[in-house]
Amino acid sequence: MGSCLDIHFWSIVALAALVMRALPVRRTIGFGLWNLLGLAVLGGWQLTASALVVTGIYWSLLRWSQRTRYAKLGTWAAIMVPGLIFVATKIGTDWSIAHSWLNDHPQALLLHRVFVNLAYSYVFLRMIEMAHCVIWKAMPLLDPLSTAGYLFPFHMIFAGPVNLYQDHLKMNASLERRDPWFVALNGADQIATGLIYKYVCAEYLRIACFGVGGRLISASWIDTAALIVYLFFDFAGYSRIMLGAGMWMGVPTPVNFNSPFSATTITDFFTRWHMSLGAFIQRNIFMPLQMTLVRRWGVRRAAWAGVAALVPAWAFVGLWHRFSLGCMVYGLVFAAVVATDKLMRDRVLRQSWSQSAAAAWTARLLGPVYVFVVVTTMLHIVITELMPA
């Protein structure tokens, strides 16, 4: 399921764009059905069957959480079961000691491969998003087929983005007002831009910095700086291609990048880089935690509640990327950097001189340089762990 240029992938997307609107069923069910075809053609029947089994189990847990008698147990299970599977999958992938254990236990190795092939890290985020919406926000629970379409969308299964459950529910609203030519051209524009990002900008940068067929390894800060620009074009290109595919099919697919290198603060950078993950963290970890702390500590300490909520949010970001102590510490250091950046900015903004046009221009010009240096330096510290030589 790797290539953005796979003819089978584009055939399924194009057919979905033509057929799905004509299906005499609700749009979420139509996509649920079409998605199974996409998964089967691109990933094989084993992958499709595993996606269906995982969906069936998870849907049952959510249904269970809605029954008054077992609500607490169902809620607990709907969070803990996906969480434990996520931890086990990450340990199996990221810990060398787990590799040798898995090699000695073929059945466990098979199970681990199933979850890795399903890109479970992203599926896990969608499960938490769905649980948050269904259990705490009382949104309707989709039928199992539509749930499979939400959890395992074939165009987003490989590397996200993390789609919103709320948006997926809205798929059933009427789309008749949209001009089909405009939708087709808008989608094509996103796809064409993504192809240029990924196969022109990213590839030429990679060849210029790391050589033809060279490995993406960093020996110096400059290498890491080149790598972060390369990562942007590669990942933003992929995200735009999938956004265009989603537009064609009428499946809500979030925007994942918004000119991150023009950000003037670290917080601003992360509202522009891998936006769907940042928004997920904000909706499901940061905001609920900050609200809880404000209720406990009082409104006067709201700023400190925000700083405290950053700690678990960033620890999760670190662990989600790689389940290791190093990456968790990396996340915690980033929490400290973001908190310092925010507190300093708030203090500076209170000064009268900061409101002048000259100060605004200076921030506009030097802000992106400061952000790039900080983000690159942070990545450089953990680059050998994230991308081993």
């Binding site: 001009d179 051209l185 524009d189």
Partner: protein, 42 residues
Amino acid sequence: MSINENPAPRRLVGLAIIVTLKLLLFVLLGRTETLHFVYAGF
């Protein structure tokens, strides 16, 4: 402009030209023989 609004035909033609130029640039310059995803495995 929101995607829900119907655009003027002139805008559609403009968008079509931009898309064609971008695709042409991709076809002429795109390096597709060394494809890979660095995010594989997430």
